[in-house]
Symmetry: C2
Amino acid sequence: MDTPDIRPGEVTGPTPDRADAAITFIGRLRTPFARREDCPRRGDAETGPVCTVEVDPPLRPALQGLAPGMRLELLYWMHHARRDLLVQVPRRDPEPRGTFALRAPNRPNPIATSIVMVTAVTAEGLLVRGLDCLDGTPLVDIKPDFRRGGEPTSAA
Amino acid sequence: MDTPDIRPGEVTGPTPDRADAAITFIGRLRTPFARREDCPRRGDAETGPVCTVEVDPPLRPALQGLAPGMRLELLYWMHHARRDLLVQVPRRDPEPRGTFALRAPNRPNPIATSIVMVTAVTAEGLLVRGLDCLDGTPLVDIKPDFRRGGEPTSAA
Protein backbone atom coordinates (compact mmCIF):
# COMPACT_ATOMS: atom_id res chain seq x y z
CA MET A 1 0.00 0.00 0.00
CA ASP A 2 1.55 3.28 -1.07
CA THR A 3 -0.37 5.36 1.47
CA PRO A 4 0.59 8.95 0.81
CA ASP A 5 2.14 11.11 3.51
CA ILE A 6 0.33 14.15 4.78
CA ARG A 7 1.40 17.68 3.80
CA PRO A 8 1.83 20.77 5.97
CA GLY A 9 -1.58 22.21 6.88
CA GLU A 10 -3.39 18.89 6.62
CA VAL A 11 -5.43 17.60 9.56
CA THR A 12 -6.09 13.98 10.46
CA GLY A 13 -8.75 12.46 12.67
CA PRO A 14 -9.45 8.96 13.90
CA THR A 15 -9.19 6.23 11.27
CA PRO A 16 -12.68 4.80 10.71
CA ASP A 17 -12.80 1.48 12.51
CA ARG A 18 -16.49 0.57 12.69
CA ALA A 19 -17.74 -1.80 9.99
CA ASP A 20 -21.28 -0.44 9.79
CA ALA A 21 -21.84 -2.04 6.38
CA ALA A 22 -19.92 -4.47 4.18
CA ILE A 23 -19.18 -3.96 0.51
CA THR A 24 -18.73 -6.90 -1.85
CA PHE A 25 -16.75 -5.92 -4.93
CA ILE A 26 -18.73 -6.70 -8.11
CA GLY A 27 -15.79 -6.64 -10.53
CA ARG A 28 -12.74 -4.68 -11.49
CA LEU A 29 -11.76 -1.73 -13.73
CA ARG A 30 -9.01 -2.19 -16.32
CA THR A 31 -7.41 1.10 -17.34
CA PRO A 32 -4.14 2.14 -19.05
CA PHE A 33 -3.07 3.85 -15.78
CA ALA A 34 -0.63 1.63 -13.89
CA ARG A 35 0.69 4.27 -11.50
CA ARG A 36 -0.99 7.10 -9.62
CA GLU A 37 1.02 9.65 -11.63
CA ASP A 38 -0.33 8.19 -14.88
CA CYS A 39 -3.95 8.91 -13.95
CA PRO A 40 -5.52 11.96 -15.62
CA ARG A 41 -6.93 14.58 -13.27
CA ARG A 42 -10.46 13.87 -14.46
CA GLY A 43 -11.78 11.27 -16.90
CA ASP A 44 -13.54 12.42 -20.06
CA ALA A 45 -16.55 10.36 -21.20
CA GLU A 46 -16.22 11.75 -24.76
CA THR A 47 -12.52 11.65 -25.51
CA GLY A 48 -10.91 9.47 -22.83
CA PRO A 49 -9.33 6.09 -23.60
CA VAL A 50 -11.56 3.02 -23.81
CA CYS A 51 -11.34 1.04 -20.57
CA THR A 52 -12.74 -2.34 -19.54
CA VAL A 53 -15.35 -2.90 -16.84
CA GLU A 54 -15.03 -6.55 -15.78
CA VAL A 55 -18.17 -7.75 -13.99
CA ASP A 56 -18.04 -10.93 -11.91
CA PRO A 57 -19.81 -13.80 -13.72
CA PRO A 58 -22.69 -14.35 -11.25
CA LEU A 59 -23.70 -10.68 -11.60
CA ARG A 60 -23.64 -10.40 -15.41
CA PRO A 61 -27.42 -10.90 -15.76
CA ALA A 62 -27.74 -7.51 -14.02
CA LEU A 63 -26.27 -5.83 -17.15
CA GLN A 64 -29.46 -6.55 -19.15
CA GLY A 65 -30.68 -3.37 -20.84
CA LEU A 66 -27.32 -1.59 -21.05
CA ALA A 67 -26.25 -0.55 -24.55
CA PRO A 68 -23.64 1.57 -26.36
CA GLY A 69 -24.21 5.30 -26.06
CA MET A 70 -25.61 5.21 -22.53
CA ARG A 71 -24.08 7.37 -19.82
CA LEU A 72 -23.51 5.50 -16.59
CA GLU A 73 -22.32 6.39 -13.11
CA LEU A 74 -19.70 3.95 -11.81
CA LEU A 75 -18.87 3.64 -8.12
CA TYR A 76 -15.51 2.15 -7.18
CA TRP A 77 -13.28 1.67 -4.17
CA MET A 78 -10.04 3.65 -4.05
CA HIS A 79 -8.02 0.90 -2.42
CA HIS A 80 -4.84 2.97 -1.95
CA ALA A 81 -6.49 5.88 -0.15
CA ARG A 82 -6.01 6.84 3.48
CA ARG A 83 -9.20 7.31 5.49
CA ASP A 84 -8.15 9.65 8.31
CA LEU A 85 -7.69 13.00 6.49
CA LEU A 86 -10.17 15.72 7.55
CA VAL A 87 -8.48 18.75 5.98
CA GLN A 88 -6.34 18.43 2.85
CA VAL A 89 -4.00 20.68 0.89
CA PRO A 90 -4.44 19.85 -2.81
CA ARG A 91 -1.18 19.87 -4.74
CA ARG A 92 -2.55 22.03 -7.58
CA ASP A 93 -4.37 24.51 -5.34
CA PRO A 94 -2.54 24.55 -2.01
CA GLU A 95 -5.23 26.04 0.19
CA PRO A 96 -6.45 23.83 3.06
CA ARG A 97 -9.96 22.52 2.44
CA GLY A 98 -12.19 20.01 4.20
CA THR A 99 -12.26 16.52 2.74
CA PHE A 100 -16.00 16.87 2.02
CA ALA A 101 -15.26 19.96 -0.13
CA LEU A 102 -12.91 17.87 -2.31
CA ARG A 103 -13.27 14.84 -4.56
CA ALA A 104 -9.78 13.62 -3.58
CA PRO A 105 -9.37 9.84 -3.08
CA ASN A 106 -8.44 10.23 0.60
CA ARG A 107 -11.71 10.26 2.58
CA PRO A 108 -13.44 8.32 5.39
CA ASN A 109 -15.14 5.99 2.89
CA PRO A 110 -12.95 6.03 -0.22
CA ILE A 111 -15.68 5.50 -2.80
CA ALA A 112 -15.34 7.41 -6.08
CA THR A 113 -18.04 8.16 -8.64
CA SER A 114 -17.32 8.67 -12.34
CA ILE A 115 -19.55 9.35 -15.32
CA VAL A 116 -18.70 7.11 -18.27
CA MET A 117 -20.04 6.48 -21.76
CA VAL A 118 -20.64 2.88 -22.85
CA THR A 119 -18.90 2.02 -26.11
CA ALA A 120 -19.67 -1.73 -26.10
CA VAL A 121 -21.34 -4.48 -24.08
CA THR A 122 -19.14 -7.59 -24.02
CA ALA A 123 -19.34 -11.12 -22.63
CA GLU A 124 -17.36 -10.04 -19.54
CA GLY A 125 -18.93 -6.64 -18.92
CA LEU A 126 -18.58 -3.27 -20.64
CA LEU A 127 -16.18 -1.06 -22.55
CA VAL A 128 -16.42 2.60 -21.48
CA ARG A 129 -14.80 6.00 -21.83
CA GLY A 130 -14.36 8.40 -18.91
CA LEU A 131 -12.33 6.58 -16.25
CA ASP A 132 -9.32 8.14 -14.54
CA CYS A 133 -8.51 5.48 -11.92
CA LEU A 134 -5.71 3.01 -11.42
CA ASP A 135 -5.72 -0.28 -13.31
CA GLY A 136 -7.24 -2.98 -11.13
CA THR A 137 -9.49 -0.68 -9.10
CA PRO A 138 -12.34 -2.67 -7.46
CA LEU A 139 -15.84 -1.95 -8.78
CA VAL A 140 -18.72 -1.28 -6.35
CA ASP A 141 -21.75 -0.34 -8.49
CA ILE A 142 -23.05 0.55 -11.96
CA LYS A 143 -26.06 2.89 -12.36
CA PRO A 144 -27.61 4.87 -15.21
CA ASP A 145 -26.76 8.59 -15.00
CA PHE A 146 -30.08 10.38 -14.80
CA ARG A 147 -28.54 13.81 -14.51
CA ARG A 148 -28.04 14.08 -18.25
CA GLY A 149 -31.65 13.58 -19.12
CA GLY A 150 -34.26 10.94 -18.73
CA GLU A 151 -34.58 7.29 -18.11
CA PRO A 152 -32.26 4.78 -19.70
CA THR A 153 -33.61 3.13 -22.81
CA SER A 154 -32.76 -0.29 -24.15
CA ALA A 155 -31.34 1.18 -27.36
CA ALA A 156 -28.43 3.57 -27.81
CA MET B 1 -36.34 -4.89 7.90
CA ASP B 2 -39.22 -4.57 5.46
CA THR B 3 -37.39 -6.41 2.69
CA PRO B 4 -39.66 -6.23 -0.33
CA ASP B 5 -40.88 -9.37 -2.05
CA ILE B 6 -39.88 -10.06 -5.62
CA ARG B 7 -42.30 -9.64 -8.52
CA PRO B 8 -43.00 -11.99 -11.44
CA GLY B 9 -40.17 -11.74 -13.98
CA GLU B 10 -37.56 -10.75 -11.41
CA VAL B 11 -34.35 -12.79 -11.10
CA THR B 12 -32.28 -13.25 -7.97
CA GLY B 13 -28.68 -14.36 -7.57
CA PRO B 14 -26.50 -15.16 -4.60
CA THR B 15 -26.68 -12.64 -1.76
CA PRO B 16 -23.29 -10.90 -1.49
CA ASP B 17 -21.48 -12.43 1.45
CA ARG B 18 -17.86 -11.32 1.10
CA ALA B 19 -16.86 -8.25 3.12
CA ASP B 20 -14.27 -6.93 0.68
CA ALA B 21 -14.35 -3.48 2.27
CA ALA B 22 -15.95 -1.94 5.34
CA ILE B 23 -17.99 1.25 5.38
CA THR B 24 -18.19 3.43 8.47
CA PHE B 25 -21.27 5.62 8.45
CA ILE B 26 -20.31 9.31 8.77
CA GLY B 27 -23.72 10.62 9.85
CA ARG B 28 -27.39 10.40 9.08
CA LEU B 29 -29.98 12.06 6.80
CA ARG B 30 -33.08 13.60 8.33
CA THR B 31 -35.95 13.89 5.83
CA PRO B 32 -39.73 14.37 6.06
CA PHE B 33 -40.17 10.88 4.56
CA ALA B 34 -40.98 8.36 7.32
CA ARG B 35 -42.23 5.57 5.07
CA ARG B 36 -41.10 4.25 1.71
CA GLU B 37 -44.37 5.36 0.10
CA ASP B 38 -43.77 8.94 1.29
CA CYS B 39 -40.49 9.24 -0.65
CA PRO B 40 -40.67 11.20 -3.91
CA ARG B 41 -39.51 9.35 -6.99
CA ARG B 42 -36.56 11.69 -7.40
CA GLY B 43 -35.31 14.54 -5.22
CA ASP B 44 -35.18 18.05 -6.63
CA ALA B 45 -32.23 20.23 -5.59
CA GLU B 46 -34.14 23.39 -6.51
CA THR B 47 -37.65 22.87 -5.16
CA GLY B 48 -37.45 19.88 -2.78
CA PRO B 49 -37.97 20.23 0.98
CA VAL B 50 -35.05 21.31 3.15
CA CYS B 51 -33.50 18.25 4.85
CA THR B 52 -30.80 17.90 7.50
CA VAL B 53 -27.43 16.25 6.96
CA GLU B 54 -26.13 15.28 10.42
CA VAL B 55 -22.37 14.70 10.38
CA ASP B 56 -20.74 12.83 13.27
CA PRO B 57 -18.82 15.26 15.52
CA PRO B 58 -15.28 13.90 14.90
CA LEU B 59 -15.74 14.44 11.14
CA ARG B 60 -17.12 17.98 11.19
CA PRO B 61 -13.74 19.60 10.43
CA ALA B 62 -14.03 17.93 7.01
CA LEU B 63 -16.91 20.31 6.16
CA GLN B 64 -14.51 23.29 5.94
CA GLY B 65 -15.04 25.17 2.67
CA LEU B 66 -18.67 24.16 2.11
CA ALA B 67 -21.12 27.04 1.75
CA PRO B 68 -24.72 27.80 0.74
CA GLY B 69 -25.37 27.54 -2.99
CA MET B 70 -22.94 24.69 -3.60
CA ARG B 71 -24.14 21.56 -5.35
CA LEU B 72 -22.95 18.39 -3.65
CA GLU B 73 -23.16 14.69 -4.37
CA LEU B 74 -24.23 12.69 -1.30
CA LEU B 75 -23.65 8.95 -1.02
CA TYR B 76 -25.80 7.00 1.41
CA TRP B 77 -26.63 3.43 2.37
CA MET B 78 -30.11 2.15 1.56
CA HIS B 79 -30.43 0.07 4.68
CA HIS B 80 -33.79 -1.53 3.76
CA ALA B 81 -32.72 -2.80 0.34
CA ARG B 82 -32.28 -6.42 -0.68
CA ARG B 83 -28.95 -7.26 -2.33
CA ASP B 84 -29.72 -10.35 -4.41
CA LEU B 85 -31.85 -8.94 -7.27
CA LEU B 86 -30.22 -9.22 -10.71
CA VAL B 87 -33.25 -8.43 -12.91
CA GLN B 88 -36.06 -6.20 -11.65
CA VAL B 89 -39.53 -5.25 -12.87
CA PRO B 90 -40.07 -1.58 -11.95
CA ARG B 91 -43.59 -0.85 -10.77
CA ARG B 92 -44.01 2.20 -13.02
CA ASP B 93 -42.51 0.61 -16.13
CA PRO B 94 -43.04 -3.13 -15.81
CA GLU B 95 -40.44 -4.37 -18.26
CA PRO B 96 -37.68 -6.58 -16.80
CA ARG B 97 -34.36 -4.76 -16.67
CA GLY B 98 -30.98 -5.56 -15.18
CA THR B 99 -30.23 -4.03 -11.80
CA PHE B 100 -27.27 -2.12 -13.31
CA ALA B 101 -29.66 -0.45 -15.81
CA LEU B 102 -31.77 0.89 -12.91
CA ARG B 103 -31.18 3.26 -9.99
CA ALA B 104 -33.55 1.21 -7.77
CA PRO B 105 -32.48 0.75 -4.12
CA ASN B 106 -32.20 -3.03 -4.46
CA ARG B 107 -28.65 -3.79 -5.72
CA PRO B 108 -25.58 -5.78 -4.66
CA ASN B 109 -24.11 -2.78 -2.84
CA PRO B 110 -27.09 -0.57 -1.91
CA ILE B 111 -25.34 2.79 -2.13
CA ALA B 112 -27.36 5.69 -3.58
CA THR B 113 -26.06 8.97 -4.96
CA SER B 114 -28.08 12.20 -4.94
CA ILE B 115 -27.33 15.72 -6.07
CA VAL B 116 -28.30 18.31 -3.46
CA MET B 117 -28.04 22.06 -3.03
CA VAL B 118 -26.65 23.44 0.23
CA THR B 119 -28.98 25.96 1.85
CA ALA B 120 -27.04 26.35 5.12
CA VAL B 121 -23.98 25.13 7.01
CA THR B 122 -24.84 24.46 10.66
CA ALA B 123 -23.05 23.37 13.81
CA GLU B 124 -24.14 19.76 13.22
CA GLY B 125 -23.70 19.55 9.45
CA LEU B 126 -25.69 20.91 6.52
CA LEU B 127 -29.19 21.81 5.38
CA VAL B 128 -29.84 20.74 1.79
CA ARG B 129 -32.55 20.38 -0.85
CA GLY B 130 -32.75 17.40 -3.20
CA LEU B 131 -33.08 14.29 -1.02
CA ASP B 132 -35.68 11.60 -1.64
CA CYS B 133 -34.65 8.98 0.92
CA LEU B 134 -36.15 7.69 4.16
CA ASP B 135 -35.64 9.62 7.39
CA GLY B 136 -32.69 8.16 9.27
CA THR B 137 -30.79 6.90 6.20
CA PRO B 138 -27.08 6.40 7.02
CA LEU B 139 -24.67 8.78 5.28
CA VAL B 140 -21.55 7.44 3.52
CA ASP B 141 -19.90 10.42 1.81
CA ILE B 142 -20.19 14.09 0.81
CA LYS B 143 -18.45 15.37 -2.37
CA PRO B 144 -18.70 18.49 -4.51
CA ASP B 145 -20.61 17.85 -7.75
CA PHE B 146 -18.19 18.68 -10.54
CA ARG B 147 -20.62 17.78 -13.28
CA ARG B 148 -22.38 21.11 -13.03
CA GLY B 149 -19.31 23.15 -13.71
CA GLY B 150 -15.98 23.79 -12.13
CA GLU B 151 -14.23 23.40 -8.85
CA PRO B 152 -15.93 24.21 -5.59
CA THR B 153 -15.22 27.66 -4.24
CA SER B 154 -15.29 28.78 -0.65
CA ALA B 155 -18.06 31.29 -1.33
CA ALA B 156 -21.55 30.66 -2.65
